[in-house]
Amino acid sequence: MGMTVAEKILARAAGLRAVAAGDVVEPKVDLAMSHENAALVINQFLEVFDGTGLPPTVWDPSRVAIIFDHRVPAESPKTATNQKKIREFVAANGIAKFHDIRGDTGGICHQILPEYGYVRPGYVVVGTDSHTTTHGALGAFSFGIGATEMASVWSLGYAVNIEVPETIKVVVNGTMPPYVGAKDLILHIIGTLTAQGANYKVLEFHGETIRQMSTSGRIAICNMSVEAGATSGIVPGDEETVRYLREVAGVTDDIPLTTPDADARYVRTVEVDVSKLEPQIACPHMVDNVKPISAVAGTKVQQIVIGSCTNGRLDDLEVAAGILRGKKVAAGTRMLVFPASGRIFAQALAKGYVQDFMAAGAVVMNSGCGPCLGVHEGALGDNEVALSTTNRNFKGRMGNPKSEVYLCSPAVAAASAITGVITDPRNN
């Protein structure tokens, strides 16, 4: 019986010839990522070692990555103290894949991992963040876990009791119309599958549209796979994966690819034709409350956000800057831009996008999660509405349960910033 990509990766990592959906395996972990919640992981990790007489050291420091992004720079003494504690742990354990609060090497965890070549096709990647599904964009089997499970991985080097998930095959064909992109595609897929339609399953992406898509677009798609409940989203590695890892991440060693067998077993196949896709909007307060833009155009918005691990990359900023260039953000609307990494910020500066945003009246902020999780900047006022390129619109997500968040692509966000209402970029 043939295997899907997830099955092949798990079989390899568990030292087995073959596995099938439903099997329980203990895969070795190739990369274990945490952000500020490493503070909690450290607590749990020390508790594991408590009373064992063994020194509390991580199993392999070269496979542990820690990136500060959720609250950078720290918004409170509590966060600052957590970050300080993590720095000390990083130093004591010799963890080199550590990205502190810096303008050059800092950024959002899900951007840093691909950008620095930490993720490779065929890897098992775990992260204490639900959007760890992102790294399937490079052909890895990558999924989110809790802090205690990470403490277990740091201790053992493998994940215990992993059920091999079933896989849904998503086949995407057609050429995207102008101003329609990866974000619209994944919003459309989530709307179709629902927020729990892929629970406990993998989404494996195929089709001509995916093959033609840049790694940046694939990242957006895999990033949001979790919003349909998926354990992981995977684009099987191909020439584009190799190009990205060589050209962007500077990887020089071998890059073996893992592809599914022709007779791999899928629980379901979903076919999507994007050639007539409209820009898509996820409406409050559920990510699967997805409507074509025509249904909500004209809705007044007070805050526009462009950024996050979903849509804060250079091509996202390029599209938005292109729409805003020479225009002004509407009075009564504020616009916040936060590039996904320091490197992207520098590139956006060199290309003049940052200047375009600022001249239009947008505020360009340091790389990090920023308003995406509403913790320390960009919170909304009571009854305010945000239109954001981020990935979640749960009640209270942008810091205020009495506000509303709509999700969209960078093109829609930029076009709407100029008018102050949800605007179809194709009518610009």
């Binding site: 329980v24 609250r71 809790g146 802090a147 277990s152 927020a195 729990q196």
Partner: protein, 163 residues
């Protein structure tokens, strides 16, 4: 028999259970104060603690969807409640098992606030309505962690053998 102290609908997210702005608080002794912080009536009801251990929070489909934050489990565990839901998102379910928050999967469940439920090994009996619903059993692998008392003792035992 235990009483349903809170009954919720579908897609209750971890932002609902434990809003992101409290994520810098990590200690299981400190997280319970922020349970359902944005639903002030639930938060007050829990904090009043006028219910015995083992009282029930009922969830619909996809309970605990969203973030991987473990505080969403520790915040409920602090009140020694049992979560009985129609379905539970993957990370929340795994976190519950890892931390020892008792969760029961019951796809056809019908229960309202104030109902009295009996949780047997494989059914949920609603004593108030007289209806009975089947539970979905946890996979054997997960039971191992539950039997060990959570993932920390489970890992500690493995560590001694394999390191």
């Amino acid at each position: 028999m235990a009483k349903v102290i809170i009954a919720l609908g579908n897609d209750i997210s971890t932002d609902d259970i434990y809003p992101g702005r409290y994520m810098a608080t990590v200690l299981p002794t400190e997280t319970p104060q922020f349970a359902f912080a944005d639903r002030t009536d639930f938060n007050a009801r829990l904090k009043a603690r006028e219910f015995p251990a083992g009282s029930i929070i009922v969830g619909g489909e996809n309970f605990g969807c969203g973030s991987s934050r473990e505080q969403a489990c520790s915040t409920l565990k602090g009140y020694e409640v049992v979560v009985v839901a129609k379905s539970i998102s993957r990370i929340f379910l795994q976190n519950s098992i890892n931390l020892g928050l008792k969760v029961v999967l019951c796809p056809a469940l019908e229960a309202s606030e104030g109902d009295e439920l009996d949780l047997t090994d494989d059914t949920v009996i609603n004593r108030t309505t007289g209806k009975q619903f089947a539970q979905v059993q946890m996979p054997a692998a997960r039971k191992g962690i539950m039997d060990a008392g959570g993932l920390i003792p489970y890992t500690r035992a493995l560590l001694k053998v394999r390191r």
